[in-house]
């Protein structure tokens, strides 16, 4: 269980996260959404203690992440695919992480097999494609067989087979009673695998409800509901290259 309470993060005069409160419960997949720059990654980094909150708390199973005796067994984290030294092989990277906790080498082989990395496990990570890097990130998150998983854009760059695999994986993990917090920009993907969504914009909570409830409220798809909810909180918006008469999704208020 992840509990985030009145979380604030400021960098100088910029406020990245502004009094955010939500809970991700065991046995559910919680989708974490918001426009670019909304504070999703910052929030996830604060939950796992990489960045210190300016105010508020973030706990996992009631304890601050840094106080956990065996963080890898409590929380599996995949923050971005490039969390590995480009000169190190996937096997070595995972082995080093495992050794901090005394996790046996056999478990490293196991997660490599689970994520389909066997053919490239002994190649340097700098040579990986985006999808392979993503699989390595997921392998690292699964290493400690944790009760809680935090996955930032896990399907980014994966092939269709990989997307399907991640969808099944997170459903299975939740079915086993684990907590899964998953961020994504792919609405149809989240509609398929999330039970609940937490939507934030400009560092603040915009919605926190079961997927079906949000969809019913808007009367359309999850994507339409998301666009309605975040319309006022989008910070970076592209424009059409041709005439301004075409209405793009972002303009529909």
């Amino acid at each position: 269980m992840i509990e985030v309470e009145a979380l604030v993060k400021r960098y100088g005069s910029t406020t990245a996260v502004d009094g955010l409160t939500f809970t991700a419960r065991p046995g559910t997949v919680t989708g974490f959404l918001g426009p670019d720059g909304a504070g999703k990654s910052t929030t996830m980094r604060m939950i796992v203690g990489l960045e210190r909150p300016t105010a508020g708390t973030a706990t996992v199973d009631g304890r601050r992440y840094a106080e956990l005796d065996a963080p890898l067994h409590s929380v599996g984290v995949m923050l971005d695919a490039r969390s590995v030294h480009p000169g190190r092989t996937a096997f070595r990277h995972l082995l080093a992480q495992a050794r901090t906790h005394g996790i046996p080498r056999s478990r490293v082989d196991e997660v490599i097999a689970m994520t389909g990395l066997e053919p490239v496990a002994h190649r340097r990570a700098g040579t990986y494609s985006l999808g392979m890097g993503q699989r390595l990130g997921i392998a690292g998150a699964l290493l400690g067989d944790p009760g809680t998983l935090i996955l930032d854009e896990p399907v980014n760059g994966l092939d269709p087979d990989g997307v399907l695999w991640v969808r099944r994986l997170v459903r299975d993990l939740a079915a086993e009673g684990r907590t899964v917090l998953l961020s994504s920009h792919l609405m149809h993907e989240l509609a398929l695998c999330a039970d609940r969504v937490v939507i934030i914009g400009r560092g603040r909570l915009l919605a926190d409800a079961p997927v079906h409830e949000i969809v019913e409220r808007s009367g359309g798809t999850l994507e339409e509901a998301y666009l309605q909810l975040t319309a006022g909180a989008v910070q970076y918006r592209g424009r059409a290259t041709t005439s301004p008469t075409t209405t793009t999704a972002g303009d529909a208020r």
Partner: protein, 267 residues
């Protein structure tokens, strides 16, 4: 999930094993070690060719003659361990596994020290081999039982270990390997040369307080005496110089630890 993995927890021995796995799992480590040994041996060989005229060097002073180049390799090793973590993005994985952070730096200090020690020993062996001819020609013997010789050989290793730890501390502090290399070379070489152009009580005292004072560990007694006689600053002797370097390494590591513990791990 097929099997529940047995419950384990973070231990310092585990963190140490992890850092060792990371160090030896990088090709750059091997290249730095090889390059250091090769550079030291080449310089020792080159200097041994020119030696022999004038006041005669001792056998051991030829063997440790590559230290000026070798210290750059040790600095690079420390910089790669300390700053590479952050510049490559691997810090995210490292510090989610060990969120208390400080054990990682402590373990890095141990493995960097060990790596630098092994590299220094390799550099000494290579230098001894490279200078064999010159030493036999000049009739210089390498008497390991001689306390001065033993002190100089151990001093070579200790100096390199100290410089590597200084690099590690600066790496944890600055988080960019390039910045560490530039700062380290300025501290170890450039400032000393600048001060040497204006000898005086103030500049000599400052020179004695620079991390390069660690190189006194590997100077022979005659050179040390000459150095102390010429200096208007404090007379450090060999071990005093080593202590100055140790102070710099500890200071840099403390500053690095401060940033690591108080600051954010960002990309």
């Amino acid at each position: 999930m097929t099997t529940r993995t047995p419950a384990t927890r973070v231990s310092f021995a585990g963190v140490l094993a992890a850092e060792w796995t990371k160090l030896v799992g990088l090709r750059s480590t091997l290249w730095v070690a090889l390059g250091t040994a090769l550079a030291a041996a080449s310089l020792a060989y080159g200097l041994s060719l020119f030696a022999g005229r004038g006041d005669g060097p001792t056998g051991v002073s030829l063997v440790v003659a590559g230290s000026v180049l070798a210290q750059t390799g040790a600095l690079a090793l420390g910089a790669l361990v300390g700053a590479g973590e952050h510049s490559s993005g691997a810090a995210t994985a490292t510090f989610t596994a060990v969120p208390r952070r400080l054990p990682v730096l402590a373990a890095q200090a141990v493995v960097t020290g060990a790596g630098a020690g092994v590299t220094a020993a390799a550099a000494l062996a290579a230098s001894a081999l490279a200078t064999t001819d010159a030493r036999t020609r000049a009739g210089l013997v390498l008497e390991l039982a001689d306390p001065e010789t033993a002190r100089m050989l151990a001093g070579f290793v200790l100096h390199l270990v100290g410089v590597a730890l200084l690099g590690l501390g600066l790496g944890a502090l600055l988080r960019r390997p390039g910045a560490v290399i530039v700062a380290g070379v300025i501290l170890l070489v450039v400032v000393d040369q600048l001060l040497a152009t204006n000898p005086g009580q103030v500049t000599d005292t400052l020179r004695a307080a620079l991390p390069g004072a660690g190189a006194r560990l590997l100077l022979d007694d005659a050179a040390l005496a000459a150095l102390d006689a010429a200096s208007r600053g404090p007379r450090l002797g060999a071990w005093g110089g080593g202590l100055v370097l140790a102070g710099w390494a500890v200071g840099a590591l403390a500053a690095g630890a401060g940033r690591l513990c108080r600051g954010d791990v960002t990309r």
